[in-house]
Amino acid sequence: MNAHTPLFEVRDLRVAFGRNGVFSEAVRGVSLHVDHGEVLGIVGESGSGKSVGMLAALGLQPEGAKVTGSVRFKGQELIGLPRRSLRELRGSRIAMIFQDPLSSLNPVMTVGDQIAEAVRLHNPDFSRKAALDRARDLLALVTIPQPDRRLRQYPHEFSGGMRQRVMIAMAVANDPDLLIADEPTTALDVTVQAQIMDVLADLQSRLKLGLILITHDLGVLAGHADRVAVVYAGQVVEQAVVDDLFARPGHPYTRGLIASIPDMTRESERLFSIDGTPPALGRLPPGCAFNPRCHMAQDICRREAPPASLESGHIVSCHFAFTGLESVA
């Protein structure tokens, strides 16, 4: 394989939902890539299209959605791939972890059977016994104590953090190359969040996974991501190496997000927040989608969509990228 082919590459991905013949785009031309052993963070508000986009890339879009663009996994185009081929990729080469670990597990199947199912779906020659052995090893891998006993239990007997570990165990059951974690820690409390992120980070480096970490928590990304893509209203507005992003946020939206992280060292009366709400699907303002909430907006922002500007690997889509940075930093 060509050394320059990224593990997973999304180009100009668009996802549109139709109602009464009118299509509105929830994802409007997203381009990203992840390499082997790399962690890409995708951050954005609820409804910004980050989950929908990633699901659609794997052919899991809701019924009636229109997906265009290009999604390449190890150079193979996924858009338009037959369902059967996609199914063989999912869970074996590309795995997913969902937000809510309770509702993501089948409540009437034991945990062991569920992990064994994940194994056997892609290795039909595994016996039930062999798959259960593998399940026990996987539970140990995600640091669940007493895996033998735990295998026979049902999801309701597990705590939230334990369940998410089970989901991770299922996801890595077939040594995938790419793991997409959709808000893996959002439904968990803070101390458990840290444990889960440690398990994920540990597995990621041990198994050399490409990891896409979808979140709305910039703090999670600061410690774990290599690169970060900031998504607003279905578009990537800024993409950079994580340290660079925090040191020199080029887009006013990114700056707003960073300013919204509570600062423990300073005492302030009010926490910072970005005014307004994200635009509704199909009701985008003209020009830059962020302009109604942007304190730097000028006439041009209301007229023209900003082009993406590239500066030493740091991509920003803003008419006034990096302006006024000194005053913020």
Binding site: R90, N106, V108
Partner: protein
């Protein structure tokens, strides 16, 4: 101080009084189904006494117009009614659940075809449709059973479809799809196992309803043929002997208690599986 705590049998919360009564009644009738010949001293078809005798120690529920023992006939009636009820519900659930699950899971044109069929069937009053089918097939309990299956399956199709539509939107189904499970596997392992509760509850109650409808069909002469000791046709005999009230009393009580029993059990199951709805 010497008083000790008396050992008490603790009744579990779900075991309510109606549920216990229900179990008792159904147990009795199941026993009658299996052991009716040993529970009575007369054969159901034999003319064992003078005709139209009121209840006495010899004939606890009296004798009918042909001098047959009503108690014996009533107990033997369970051997016809209960197997019919179980058969009808079994096939109605099988057909209905299968078609309903397919309609809900596949959707589209399959859903449309199946559900319009359901709508058409359900648009007839159940008694009328059962009568029409039974009449065209001819008398006999087997034909009545077929008629009732035709009347009943759409109810389960609807129930199952609604349940599948709800369950398939749950996140663990999406997670199963994302881990590469086939459609068939998703349906059989991740959707269907969570769909059975309402079907089970409804099926229990319907056992009683089927017995009632079977008796109704027999009452108007479309079900069991004489001299079969079937409750509906026995009540029909009783109706023509209006002043010999005991002739219809036995089968009437039988239908009453068995329908009541199944309803109590169905209610109990409902409360057990879904305690929040109380």
């Amino acid at each position: 101080m010497t008083a000790q705590l008396a050992p008490r049998i603790v009744r579990p919360r779900w075991l309510t009084l109606p549920l216990m009564i229900g179990f008792g009644l159904i147990l009795f009738w199941l026993l009658a189904t299996v052991a009716a010949p040993w529970m009575t001293s007369y054969a159901p078809l034999d003319m064992v006494g003078r005709r139209l005798q009121p209840p006495s120690w010899d004939h606890l529920l009296g004798t009918d117009a042909l001098g047959r023992d009503v108690l014996s006939r009533t107990l033997h009636g369970a051997r016809h009614s209960i197997p019919i009820a179980v058969t009808v519900v079994f096939f109605a659930v099988s057909i209905g659940a299968l078609l309903g699950a397919l309609a809900g899971f596949i959707g589209g044109i399959v859903d449309t075809i199946i559900m319009r069929l359901v709508d058409v069937t359900l648009s007839f009053p159940p008694m009328l449709l059962a009568m029409a089918v039974a009449a065209s097939l001819g008398p006999g309990l087997e034909n009545a059973a077929i008629a009732m299956i035709i009347v009943w399956w759409p109810i389960y199709a609807r129930l199952m479809r609604a349940q599948v539509l709800e369950v398939r939107e749950r996140e663990h189904v999406e997670a199963a799809v994302a881990s590469g499970a086939t459609q068939t596997r998703v349906l059989t392992h991740h959707v269907l196992p969570l769909c059975w509760t309402p079907v089970l509850i409804s099926a229990t109650m319907d056992l009683g309803q089927v017995i009632l409808l079977a008796a109704s069909l027999s009452f108007i002469g479309l079900g069991a043929t004489p001299p079969t000791p079937e409750w509906g046709s026995m009540i029909s005999d009783g109706a023509s002997q209006f002043y010999s009230w005991w002739v219809a009393l036995g089968p009437g009580l039988a239908i009453l208690t068995i329908v009541l029993g199944f309803n109590f059990i169905g209610d109990g199951l409902h409360d057990y599986f879904d305690p929040r709805s109380k």
